[in-house]
Amino acid sequence: MSASVVTAPVLTARGLVKRYGSVTALSGADFDLMPGEILGVIGDNGAGKSTLIKCLTGAEIADEGEVRLDDQPVRFANPLAARAAGIETVYQSLAVCPSLDIAANLFLGRERLKKGVLGTVFRQLDHKGMREEAASQLSSLGVLTVQNMNQAVETLSGGQRQAVAVSRAGAFGSRLVVMDEPTAALGVKESNRVLGLIRSIRDRGIPVVLISHNMPHVFEVADRIHIQRLGRRVAVVTPATHTMSDAVAIMTGAMEPPTT
């Protein structure tokens, strides 16, 4: 616990418990996200990965336990509250509206209004400003070659849609970004691009939580890896100290977790 003197974690959780009826999804789970890192979260089906993330991002409220953001206790009633606190989530479903254009999707739910009377009285959207900002966000993440923010998202490929969702999180996530299986539906080339995006968000100083089933992807980009098993964190390893098969063995219970 002396580590907190050196660098304080951005987001921590202690002893989270979540029950759904007779099923216990989380049984005293801990969680730590350090500044400027990519934290992989792995675990077998039913290990409580999704529930853990939901409790951290306001999609669920834990029955017991405590979540702290920047060492302040927080209790998010819904995903909006988490977002307001600077936690952005890229859902597996992406949460983009296909018939709306790229700029509209990037600013969905937090549209910008024009300055002055047009904005305050006539509630007029700042179309131009949002397009420009969207273009600059996408290009700063290296996502953009042709500037056509008016293009409907449904005309984009799966990887490009993912890029829009990731850019949105990167643009608004002031404290941290959570990504749920961002490469699940993508081919090799597109997956690599998304992994590159995750790195560029980290390189901006925003820590990223990456939940994935894909071990090679996790080991490729993660700085530390949180291993979830039977509703709790059993180990935190790094790609430097453990191999992929070690991680799988810890995840499935075939290997004793390292004592820290």
Binding site: P79, L80, R83, T89, Y91, S93, L94, A95, V96, C97, P98, S99, L100, I102, A104, N105, L108, G109, R110, E111, L113, F122, R123, Q124, L125, H127, L138, L141, G142, V143, L144, T145, V146, N148, Q151, T155, L156, G159, Q160, A163, V164, E190, R193, V194, G196, L197
Partner: protein, 342 residues
Amino acid sequence: MTIQAESAPPASAAEPRVGLGRRIQRVLHAQPILGPVLVLVAALLVFSIISPSRFASAETVILILRQTAPIAVLAIGQTIIILTAGIDLSVGAIMVLSMITMAKLNAEQGVPGPLALLIGFVVGLACGAVNGLLVTRLRLPPFIVTLGTFSIFFAINLLYSKSATIRGTDMSGVLNFLGDGVDIGGTFITYGIVLMLALFALMAYVLRNTPWGRHVYAVGDDIEAARLSGIRVTRVLLSVYLVAGLLCAVAAWVLIGRVGSASPQSGQTENLASITAVVLGGTSLFGGRGLVLGTLIGALVVTTFSVGLGIAGVDQQWQLLVTGLLVIGAVTLDQWIRRVKI
């Protein structure tokens, strides 16, 4: 990761042999309002050829606009509901209930015109609130909710009015106001027409240029994505039903001006007519796509056929049949356009 412009390139020599059908499909996909406009222009042309002396005149245009006004105003409300992937089968009943309320309060119970009008608007809002609350709080499908409320609102209207029509001459000037108008170069443009056009312009602005408008589209497009993006989905849906309810009451006011009386038996065909106008206007029944100006064109198409066939001396039954064909044609065209390969 690159996002490239994947919109259809101009059909130039660079593109080898794009079929005419495919090209039309692309153009219509990019400009969905073009289809309805073409149908309207074609209809106007055909009827002008069939009845050159009687159809092709300023009076006919004004007649079409006057007949369109009440349905078109209803259809504005229907459009925003359909944009959220809902449907409102009760708009006609809300209209007639609001109409009877304002007419009866004023003509028979001595309530001053402006106040009676205001109460009529409140009735429209209240009916919209009932629909909206049933859809959002009880999470019932809009189709079922409004199927039920149609009967309820219509029954209340019959009970309250005792099925008696109220003459416009018994009502005060405010209620008849939208039947008045101005004479511009020999053509009489009613205030009802002006109000209808103003409401379309206003709704087009709101849908395109305000956060609320964008949220209406987002909710209809993908409700879960909208929720996760931080849109207060319930609030958007409720507001849409409220606005639609108010527009029904405005349509009631337009209808009094148009007909010169308030009949508790009206409003029954307007339900489906409003949906017809929205569909003909190119708005998708699956939500998230469409333009309110398309609805204006769609409503004009319906009236143009009815007026045109009437002038040509064709039976009412045929007009109904043609409307049915138009609707099926419009939906088929819509499906074809959506399958566009870019």
